[in-house]
C-alpha cells in the first residue's frame, strides 16, 4: 500500500462520518462523530506543539552553526522557552507569564501589524491609480468609505455616511454574496475530491 493510501482512507472515513452525522438521524453516527471530533481536538493540540517544535529546530540549527545573526535566533529560543516553560509549570495565569504576555508580546504583536498602514501610505502614493473602469469604481468606493469613517465625511455632506451605508448594504453585499456562494460551491467540490481520494496535496509530495 502506498504511503498515501491509509491517510486517504482515514480522510474519506472521517469525512463521511461527519457528513452522515449531519444528515442522518442515526445514533451510531452521532456517537462516532462526536468521538472523532474529540480526537481531532487532541491531534490539533499536538499540531500546535509541532509548529513550535519546527521553529525551535530551525533556530537551534542556526545557533549551532553560528550563522549570521545567530544571536537573534538565540533570543528567539530564549523567549520561546522562557514563556513555554513558565506556562507549562506555572500556567498562563502566573504573574510572570501575564507580565511577559501583556508587556512584551502584546505590544510587539500590535507594533508588527501596525507597520502595514505605513506601507499602505506608500502604496497609495505610488501604485493605486484609476487605470480602468474597474479600478475607478474601486477607488470611488474606497474614498466614500474612508470619508464616512471620519467626521469630515459628515461635515462635507450628510449624504456621504448615508451613501456609504448604502454601498455596504447593497452593491458590496451583492458582490460579497456572489463570492460567498461561489466559494461555497468550490469548497463542496474540493471536499468531494478529498472524499473520493482525488486530492492528495495535503499529504505532501512523494509517496504512492
Amino acid at each position: 500500500m502506498g504511503s498515501k493510501t491509509i491517510p486517504g482512507i482515514i480522510v474519506t472515513t472521517t469525512a463521511l462520518v461527519m457528513i452522515a452525522e449531519g444528515y442522518l438521524n442515526v445514533d451510531l453516527f452521532k456517537t462516532v462523530g462526536s468521538e472523532f471530533r474529540a480526537w481531532s481536538i487532541i491531534i490539533a493540540a499536538f499540531a500546535l506543539g509541532l509548529a513550535a517544535a519546527n521553529l525551535a529546530r530551525f533556530h537551534l540549527v542556526r545557533v549551532a552553526k553560528r550563522n549570521s545573526g545567530w544571536y537573534h535566533n538565540l533570543a528567539c529560543l530564549i523567549a520561546m522557552f522562557t514563556l513555554g516553560i513558565t506556562g507549562i509549570f506555572r500556567g498562563p495565569k502566573a504573574p510572570t507569564y501575564d507580565f511577559l504576555y501583556t508587556n512584551v508580546y502584546s505590544p510587539l504583536s500590535v507594533a508588527v501589524v501596525a507597520l502595514t498602514i505605513f506601507f499602505i501610505a506608500t502604496a497609495a502614493l505610488r501604485a493605486i491609480t484609476a487605470r480602468n473602469a474597474g479600478a475607478t469604481i474601486l477607488l470611488i468606493a474606497a474614498v466614500i468609505i474612508m470619508l464616512s469613517n471620519i467626521p469630515v465625511g459628515d461635515a462635507i455632506s450628510p449624504m456621504i455616511p448615508k451613501f456609504a451605508a448604502w454601498i455596504n448594504k447593497i452593491p458590496n453585499m451583492a458582490g460579497q454574496r456572489g463570492i460567498l456562494v461561489t466559494s461555497a460551491i468550490g469548497s463542496i467540490a474540493f471536499g468531494l475530491r478529498v472524499l473520493l481520494g482525488l486530492e492528495r496535496t495535503q499529504f505532501g509530495a512523494g509517496g504512492g
Binding site: 491531534i43 523567549a79 508587556n103 508580546y105 505590544p107 460567498l180 463542496i188 499529504f203
Partner: protein, 196 residues
C-alpha cells in the same frame, strides 16, 4: 514598580519594531525574533494545556481508553522529523483534514448556498433589489462560467466584476481604518510613558 517596568518594556519593544519604517536594522531583527519566540512559547503553553485537559485527564480520570488513539496519532505528527518514518505523520494530518472537510461540507449547502440564494430571491420592483440580484448572479456567473461565448453571460459577468470592485474598494477603506487603529494602539503603548 512592576507597572512602570511593564510600560517601559511595552514602549521600548514598540519603538524597536517601528524603527523598521526607516530601514531594516539590528534592533528590529532582535524584537522580531523575540516576538516570534514568545508567540511560539504561548502556543506551547496552550498545546500543553489542551493535551492535558482533553486527552490525559479524561483518559486517567474517566477511563476513556479510546483516547490513546488520538494521542498516538498526535505523537505520530512528530515523525516528520525523521526521514525514514515521516510518512507516519500523514495519518494525523489526514484525520484533521477529514474532520474539517466533513464538518465544513455538511454546513455549507444550507448556510452558505441555500440561505444566501433564498435571500437573493427578491421582487425586481426596486432598484436596490435589482442591484442585489444582478450583483449576486453576476459574481456567480463570472466565477462559474469561465468560457465566455455568450453575450448575456459576458454582460452579467461584467456586472459581477464591477460589484466585486466595489467590494474590494470597501475592503480597502476598511483596511485603512483597521491598520490605523493598530498603529494608534502601538503608539499608545509608547505614549503611556508620558502619561497619555
Amino acid at each position: 514598580m512592576n507597572a512602570t517596568i511593564g510600560v517601559w518594556l511595552g514602549a521600548i519593544t514598540t519603538v524597536m519594531i517601528l524603527s523598521y519604517l526607516w530601514g531594516d536594522n539590528e534592533l528590529f531583527k532582535f524584537a522580531e525574533h523575540v516576538f516570534v519566540g514568545l508567540g511560539a512559547g504561548h502556543s506551547i503553553t496552550m498545546a500543553f494545556g489542551n493535551i492535558r485537559d482533553s486527552a490525559f485527564k479524561p483518559l486517567i480520570n474517566q477511563n476513556r481508553l479510546l483516547l490513546i488513539v488520538p494521542i498516538i496519532l498526535g505523537l505520530m505528527l512528530y515523525a516528520r522529523f525523521n526521514r525514514k518514518f515521516s510518512y507516519l505523520s500523514r495519518w494525523g494530518v489526514a484525520f484533521m483534514v477529514g474532520i474539517g472537510t466533513g464538518v465544513l461540507m455538511r454546513g455549507l449547502p444550507s448556510a452558505q448556498v441555500l440561505s444566501q440564494l433564498r435571500a437573493t430571491m427578491l421582487p425586481l420592483t426596486a432598484l436596490d433589489n435589482i442591484i442585489i440580484v444582478l450583483g449576486t448572479l453576476g459574481g456567480i456567473t463570472y466565477f462559474l462560467f469561465t468560457i465566455k461565448g455568450n453575450k448575456a453571460v459576458s454582460v452579467l459577468s461584467t456586472f459581477g466584476i464591477y460589484a466585486m470592485m466595489i467590494c474590494f474598494g470597501v475592503a480597502f477603506g476598511g483596511a485603512v481604518f483597521q491598520r490605523t487603529s493598530q498603529a494608534a494602539g502601538a503608539i499608545m503603548n509608547v505614549l503611556k510613558l508620558f502619561g497619555r
